[in-house]
Subunit: 239 residues, 2 copies
């Protein structure tokens, strides 16, 4: 089999959670890559298996664990020759350590990438808002990884009436309704003094961005994409 250059810097994407968010991640990888021709772009293997059980439901105790399905999907990437694995789904990062142990490949952590960009955006002192699933919020996935940050979080009512229905609307392809609901949650956080808003669920940047958010946004999908591209370009650089 080929041992040519195309095998170096091969990014494995454990995706399909959801499938549109995976496509959005791939778009952001292209956007983060300086390229004039096809061949300048970074190589990717994508396992987009949307049958992985719902991550947020599993965390709430409402469904089966997604771990076995995520590991099975990740092993497809290993067998296909990926050298790095990334997961463009925030909530899936609740199982990050287990997945990394099972796959035995280097991985980039989406939440760490996003937190670094968020702290850089507010200069370390401003309040950072967070739009994410109930599971990501309740598990402390973001908050516990950055205790030094001043967080502005949605209330239980805002999560129930706006954020979760907004994320579900995006997953069902109802993008206008998703934009309206998630926009309402963003406005509420802005009124409470949020200076920058982490889009901490990969469905959120599909409908909320610099053009329609009330404060600057940090798009977790883009943060992960930029780091994946930087990794691949460094691996592919002639030594």
């Amino acid at each position: 089999m080929s041992t040519g250059d195309e095998t170096r810097g091969l990014i494995g994407v454990l995706g399909g959670m959801g499938p549109l968010a995976t496509i959005d991640f791939m778009h952001k990888v292209l956007a983060a890559t300086p390229a004039d021709t096809d061949q300048d772009h970074v190589p990717m293997l994508v396992s987009s298996i949307p049958q992985v059980p719902d991550r947020a439901a599993a965390f709430r105790g409402d469904g089966v664990s997604p771990l076995a399905a995520m590991i099975a999907s990740g092993r497809r990437l290993v067998r296909a020759g990926a050298s790095l694995v990334v997961i463009p789904c925030n909530t899936a990062h609740l199982w990050f350590d287990d997945i990394q142990r099972a796959l035995g490949l280097p991985m980039l952590h989406l939440v760490d990438a996003t937190l670094a960009d968020a702290v850089a955006a507010v200069g370390g002192s401003g309040a950072i808002g967070l739009l994410c699933t109930d599971a990501t919020l309740a598990s402390g996935l973001y908050v516990n990884r950055a205790p030094q940050v001043r967080w502005a979080l949605p209330t239980a009512h805002e999560m129930r009436d706006w954020v979760m229905p907004g994320i579900r609307a995006v997953k069902a392809g109802e993008l206008d309704r998703g934009a309206e609901l998630l926009g309402a949650a963003a406005q509420a956080l802005a009124r409470r003094g949020t200076q920058a808003l982490v889009l901490g669920c990969t469905e959120v940047p599909l409908v909320l961005g610099a053009s329609n958010a009330p404060v600057p946004v940090i798009d977790a999908t883009a943060s992960l994409a930029r780091r994946a591209v930087a990794w691949s370009l460094a691996e592919r650089r002639p030594t």
Copy 2:
């Protein structure tokens, strides 16, 4: 390892030719799937290796053959467990038979899918226009597979001044310029009596479509996506 349902109907996408066209194909797979939740979508494995040598250049004798790289990329899909392989690149279909022999998996042929949709659109008697790479045109990839069709083809000047520069502009991310050049070629074909226009290079539908083409279009990427989804849904149906 999981041997659950997610392994049935797994579409392998031999992609990266170009990477944006692969993302466009994935979008069209989602659009062709009736789905309310992530889990309703069809599973895909995508090998997006843009380092595959340029297909059109190889056909012209201006570069190395892409065959070995395409087979290596396809074998990643085989190792990862795909049950079907599709290639969202028209020109790559010049090597379709060799790839199919090497991979030993069922494949869907993009040109056959598109021709069926084109003949259905014009009712079998109207003239069909074709926007594609010089290699796809000169090789007879479309024309020789459907000798009963009345074709309206770009002239050598239109290929040189509009179609090929338009495709290259799209690959370089210059979408406005690509739309302008490919739109000019479409207008010329419409003036010569084309009743429907085959978008026979996966870069073309990225900038030309129902909203800005002078006649109805048959998008080869969408034709392939619809058939891939139908195949996967049939495979996944409980027996």
